[in-house]
Amino acid sequence: MARAAVQRRLTWQPATVAQVRTETESARSIVLDVPGWPGHVTGQHVDVRLTAEDGYAAQRSYSVASAPELDRLELTVQRVPDGEVSPYLADVAEAGDQLEIRGPVGGYFTWRPEAVEPVLLVAGGSGIVPLMSMIRGRAAANSRVPFRLVYSARTPDDVIYAQELSRRVRDDRGLDVAFAYTRGTPAGWPRPPGRLDAALLAEVGWPADFIPAVYICGPTGFVEAAANLLVAQGHEPQRIKTERFGPTGDREAAA
């Protein structure tokens, strides 16, 4: 869903927090009202700018989490302890607060519902956010393209959108989800906690012969590792799209 392409110059525009929702102990979703928001292509992000009373401004990128919609979008932010911007979004912001956004931007890490090839999504930690927009956008567009998500999280409690994902696995035809835990697993889980490895990706991902479109998102180290594993399994580098969120304070958090 996008408004007819009225050429408008990209610039900062005001956004109002409409609602916040707790996702995990460290992540919240933030619904923003943005008059004139044109919708987005799933996978795109916005830049968020916060300005303090003394005029000091800080900006960071956040992926759109929701399916494309007019005048409204949803972000999901994971708190980085001692970070400049994320603690405000993940802990402090409340309905009625104002901030500024610039977007939607980024044409590379995107999935469009017209696409017909099977899709492999690989998420590390908060890297699930743009991939969730693709999953939601796929359902909203009634696409039946096979989607398979491999989601690496620290523990089951760190899984963002856990309930919605299990509901969608039941209801969205052609969607599969596999979890990989790096720190702690549910009781009786078949694999000990550990990094996403070649054996797991081979077991739960699409074989390279299916020529899937691959999207990998998460902390920089996680994305590098996952992309290398998939290339080693025969996936063509040109079919692997990556988006890196930056360092993990804790290298084992997701990778």
Binding site: S61, G106, E243
Partner: protein, 105 residues
């Protein structure tokens, strides 16, 4: 800078996706899908697949293969300074009508 303290050796970088906003503000179109050629090593790849170091005051875009600086962007309130130091060219997809002037047809 010696190899050991280069930011490249840690994960203190993101990729070209992060520069989408500032580049679109300047070029009024998405540049992350454009393919750029590195003057250092000749690599040709989408700008989204570069490495971005976004620490104040500027943003530095580097080649992931040879580490050469491709672009530097500094944003002031009312203008931007863009240095295209290490890019030989940018290949940008455009709607077909825009090419008619070159075809002679």
């Amino acid at each position: 800078m010696t190899a050991g303290d280069r930011p490249l050796d840690r994960d203190e970088w993101v990729d070209g996706n992060e520069a989408a906003g500032i580049l679109q503000e300047i070029f009024t179109m998405d540049i992350t899908t454009a393919r750029g050629r590195c003057a250092g090593c000749g690599r040709v790849a989408p700008m989204a697949e570069t490495r971005v170091y976004d620490h104040a005051p500027g943003l530095v875009v580097r080649c992931p293969d040879c580490d050469a600086v491709l672009l530097t962007v500094i944003r002031a309130p009312d203008r931007a300074f863009l240095a295209t130091t290490g890019l030989t060219y940018l290949e940008v997809a455009l709607p077909e009508s825009a090419t008619s002037g070159f075809t002679g047809a």
